[in-house]
Symmetry: C2
């Protein structure tokens, strides 16, 4: 099987990072994934080696027929080292579980990184569509088509009453998880975020950090997603999530206006200090990078910083991640050295931009 050299990924960034789409000042990206399994096979965890291989081949063959994936890239995860798998994780193409698991498993994804399919993760297939901005319904329409294309050649395990069958009961039914990554610096700065998060909890939605399940919210980035997959159809699940996110967007917008009128100096101070530190520091951790870039992003969104392209900024979030840094360097480097190189890359990125 022809597989893809993942270093090719370093040459460009995914389409979902282009910083466009509705409400892109607050919503980084919209994502939907569908959990699917092939009828007549045990769930992925219970397959023997021969069956896992068969499963990969079968699904790859099906993805080749998909219009959305026809120019697809295929990666066999067991052929990658830790850095390679982490690169895919940093690009949101695979989950942490898929990166860390053992055994025969794969990833198939489209050139633009919008559509991706994890094979032999918890389920036989985890189909994902990831788009820039607040675009849940369009994302749904696209993943629905990908799903139908695949279903044409793959017999998905489906139960008349329960719906799609999945390895974990929490996914049974639609097998759907929809989420949006929101940037909420003003709700954090005005200390309103806790009220928002409490309300979210009551609505049976989940809040996670930049890298999904098991990660903490950091740098003012919050991923909101549905918890329920059963008892509502897909459109209803997405519509409910969309309504809540619209409200959060409104709250953030109001907080931004309030900050600009009532805490203008403090706001400008925090934004420009972030610029100054990023342009000058010689040691920079991932965590500090995320926090400071969050402030810079707010500066761009509020038109306080004028000469910085949002896509360029989004790329910085990704290329400063540990695996990206190391694959760009062409070698494994220590955390201390990574902090040096990260600071270098950031200075270089921001050098050409006269932000003062």
């Amino acid at each position: 099987m022809d597989t893809f050299d993942i270093k090719e990924l370093l040459k460009k960034s995914g389409e979902w990072l282009k910083g466009t789409g509705p409400s892109n000042d607050i919503v980084i990206s919209s994502r939907i994934r569908l959990a699917r399994n092939i009828a007549g096979y045990k769930f992925a965890a219970f397959l023997n080696k021969q069956e896992t291989k068969e499963m990969v081949d079968k699904i790859i063959a099906a993805t080749k027929k998909s219009n959305y994936l026809k120019a697809d890239k295929v990666v066999l995860l067991e052929s990658l080292d830790v850095l390679g798998r982490q690169l895919l994780l940093e690009r949101h193409l695979i989950s942490r579980e898929h990166a860390e698991a053992k055994g025969i498993r794969a990833l198939s994804f489209s050139e633009d990184e919008i559509v991706s399919i994890m094979i032999n993760e918890e389920d036989h297939l985890r189909i994902q569509v990831l788009q820039s901005g607040f675009n849940l319904m369009e994302t749904w329409r696209m993943i629905d088509k990908v799903d139908s294309e695949l279903e044409a050649s793959l017999p998905f395990a489906f139960h008349q009453h329960l719906g799609y069958l999945t390895a974990c009961p929490t996914n049974v039914g639609t097998g759907l998880r929809a989420s949006c990554m929101l940037h909420l610096p003003s709700l954090v700065m005005t200390k309103q975020i806790n009220k928002v998060l409490q309300a979210i909890g009551k609505l049976n939605l989940a809040v996670r950090g930049l890298y999904g399940e098991g990660t903490q919210a950091s740098g003012n980035f919050f991923q909101f997603s549905n918890q329920t997959t059963l008892g509502k159809n897909e459109e209803k699940i997405i519509d409910d999530l969309e309504k809540v996110i619209k409200q959060i967007i409104e709250h953030e917008r109001e907080a931004r206006i309030a900050l600009q009128s009532k805490k203008r100096d403090k706001l400008y101070d925090q934004i420009w200090r972030a610029v100054g530190i990023l342009k000058c520091a010689h040691l920079m951790t991932s965590q500090e990078t995320t926090s400071l870039l969050s402030m810079v992003r707010l500066g761009v969104d509020l038109n306080i910083i004028k000469d910085l392209d949002r896509q360029k900024l989004n790329e910085l979030f990704i290329v400063t991640q540990p695996a990206h840094l190391q694959l760009l360097a062409g070698k494994t480097i220590s955390p201390k050295e990574r902090d040096i190189r990260r600071a270098q890359i950031i200075r270089q990125y921001l050098k050409t931009i006269n932000m003062l």
Copy 2:
């Protein structure tokens, strides 16, 4: 009496800020003051109004004859408002006590601000010479001449066995206090400063902050001075202090070399972050200014920052002080507004300098 409009001071900075003189990479300035009183009068605190006025006139008349002070500026402190007095304090022309006291008292100083005389401070005269760099002996030679010039027309209270008589017994004898302001960022960063300060204590020397008695060391600036005024002649007092300071300079030099070889990245990071924050911040307290300028100064001293003139940097320390800021603004401004204006001035100062 013709008195000087202190706003004239805002047009330039004192000669001692020019950043020259021996060991100017570590020693900001050398200062000597002599406490003197006029025979036949009570000490300043016990003079009646008429006598304080007489004292001011008498001493001013004597200073007019001095070659060092002939183009002298005279300021009657009771005619100034709080801001005006604080301006003189920030320029190290008067003490905090002289600024805050009530009653008839004056300051006479030379155009270049090297020689100054406080009249009716704790003693009738407090003569000061303040020079750039590590220059104690030259400073002594100059103040000795000023003292002789004044003594020619003023009968100083002198006791054959005790020496010069002063209001506070700790000054009796020579009436001399010599001090150097040192910038010791590397001893602070390498945590060796406490050992140095402990040793200083045992040697009967005093350590103070940027603004003398009662102020804490801040921003890595330490003022070292003699405690003893009796039982040694002036040259011996100065020579002893000079020897100790030479050792501290050596320690700081060694620490700078060690930092550059062993903690290079951390050092560059701290220096450049300070530059970045100063160039970009929109709110800046006095205290943070001092700390950050301390790092910038270290960067200039180590030739890490190349395009910044040391005098310009020294001036920034002074013009960002509260009274300077307010007199430059032409009005009293709140601490919050001062932080805004201070940040503005700093950005302006550093704007023309391409430090990256």
